[in-house]
Each structure stands twice: as structure tokens, then as C-alpha cells.
């Protein structure tokens, strides 16, 4: 009996959903902290993201795991959604579009993982 060919789509939809939920819950606060409050030094202190503090965070397994999950799930969510919106703006979402979008998400995931691993524990 030939093996049943199963679709890989549910995996991408699962990552899209998980990343969409996580970014809906935390995205606004994260952008506020790293992009506005700390750079401006108000209302959070500018040394909140000082080197020793962030390094210790990224070395701890909780911080490392948090950063990896946020980056990876955000990337897969965004790329999946962009892929499925391409048709709406008149771009055919064929094999090339899939390769670029999912390849981009995979690249971000690998770069983040490599960076976090090289920071050490």
C-alpha cells in the first residue's frame, strides 16, 4: 500500500497561529520597551538594556528560551501571513514565493538560534 501523502500545511498554520497569538499578547509591550521607552530613557531607565543585564538574561535558559520563541514564532507568523497576502496584491504565491517566505523565516530562526547558542549558558 502506498503511503498516504499528507499535507505539510497544518504545521505552517500552527506556527502562524502561535506566533500571531504571542505577538498579539506581547508585541505591543515589547516594541514599547525595546524601541521607545529604553532608547528614550523614559518611562523606563536607559540602563534597563545595559550589556551586563541583557547578557545575563540571554545566558539564563529562561531568557534564552524566551528570546528564541519570540523571534522564531514572530518570524513564522509574519512570513506565513505575507505569503498568503501576496495574491491580494497581484503576486502569484507559487513555489518561489513559498521558498522566499518560509526560507526567510527559517533563516531568521537559524540566525537567532546560532546567536543565542554562541552567547553561551
Amino acid at each position: 500500500m502506498a503511503a498516504v501523502k499528507r499535507s505539510n500545511a497544518p504545521i505552517f498554520w500552527l506556527l502562524f497561529g502561535a506566533g500571531g497569538m504571542l505577538s498579539a499578547l506581547l508585541g505591543t509591550a515589547l516594541v514599547f520597551i525595546t524601541g521607545l521607552a529604553v532608547p528614550l530613557g523614559w518611562p523606563l531607565p536607559a540602563d534597563l538594556l545595559g550589556y551586563p543585564r541583557v547578557l545575563a538574561f540571554a545566558q539564563h535558559w529562561v531568557g534564552k528560551g524566551f528570546l528564541f520563541i519570540v523571534i522564531a514564532l514572530f518570524a513564522w507568523h509574519a512570513m506565513h501571513r505575507i505569503l498568503h497576502s501576496l495574491h491580494d496584491i497581484g503576486v502569484h504565491n507559487g513555489a518561489l514565493a513559498k521558498l522566499v517566505c518560509y526560507g526567510g523565516a527559517a533563516l531568521i530562526t537559524v540566525v537567532a538560534a546560532a546567536g543565542l547558542l554562541s552567547i553561551g549558558f
Binding site: P39, L55, A56, A75
Partner: protein, 131 residues
Amino acid sequence: MSRKAYLRPMEGWWRRDPFFVRYMVREATAVAVLVYTIVLTVGVVRLSQGEAAWNGWLQAMRSPGSLVLHAVLLVSMFVHAKSWFEIMPKTMPMIVIGGKRLAASTITRSGWAAAVVASIVLLSLAGWWRP
């Protein structure tokens, strides 16, 4: 005699209806999520390269261009969160409590409440956490 088949022009289709505009705005938030993810990924890479590299990333985050970008990203993330919970009643499995279907507005409001609580917890942890 052959004639060219008529193709309905689709240019700018989404501007025809406010519903479509909202749909496109919602889908466009994915670009903001992607941009912010790239910013974070660069940060992780710079952190792994040592203190000078990390301080360079922090310096870049303080530039006017970065602040404007993150103001746009902040609004986009908020729109994403708002719309994500607005469509959640349609994307999640139906919940039946006591023989009655859980109202869409209850699901949406629960999502917003969860996002507010998660944001407060994250901001508190960021402020209080000491290595």
C-alpha cells in the same frame, strides 16, 4: 474572429470597500511583525559579538529614524492585537457553555484582557528583574 477575453481590472480592489481596507490593514501588520523580528534578531547577533557591538545596537535604537520606525511598529502591533482578537471568534473552535454558544464579544474581550495582563506582567518583569 477572435476577441480578447475580458479581464475585470483588479487594480486597487481593496480600496472599494471599507471592509476590504480593514482586511488589508490587518494583513499589513505582518510586515511590522517581520521588521521588528529582524530588529530583535540583529540585536541578538550584536549581543553575541560583545559589549561594543551591543552598545552600537543600543545607539542605533536611539536614532531619530529608529524612534519613528518603532512608533509606527507600536501602532501596527496594537492594530494586530486588536484585530487578532476581533477575528478570534471566527478562527477558534466553537465553545458551548450550558447549552449556549459562547458569545463572540466575550471571546474578543477575553483576548484583549489577556493582552493587557500579559503586557503589565512583561513591563513589571522588565523593570524588576535583576540578574
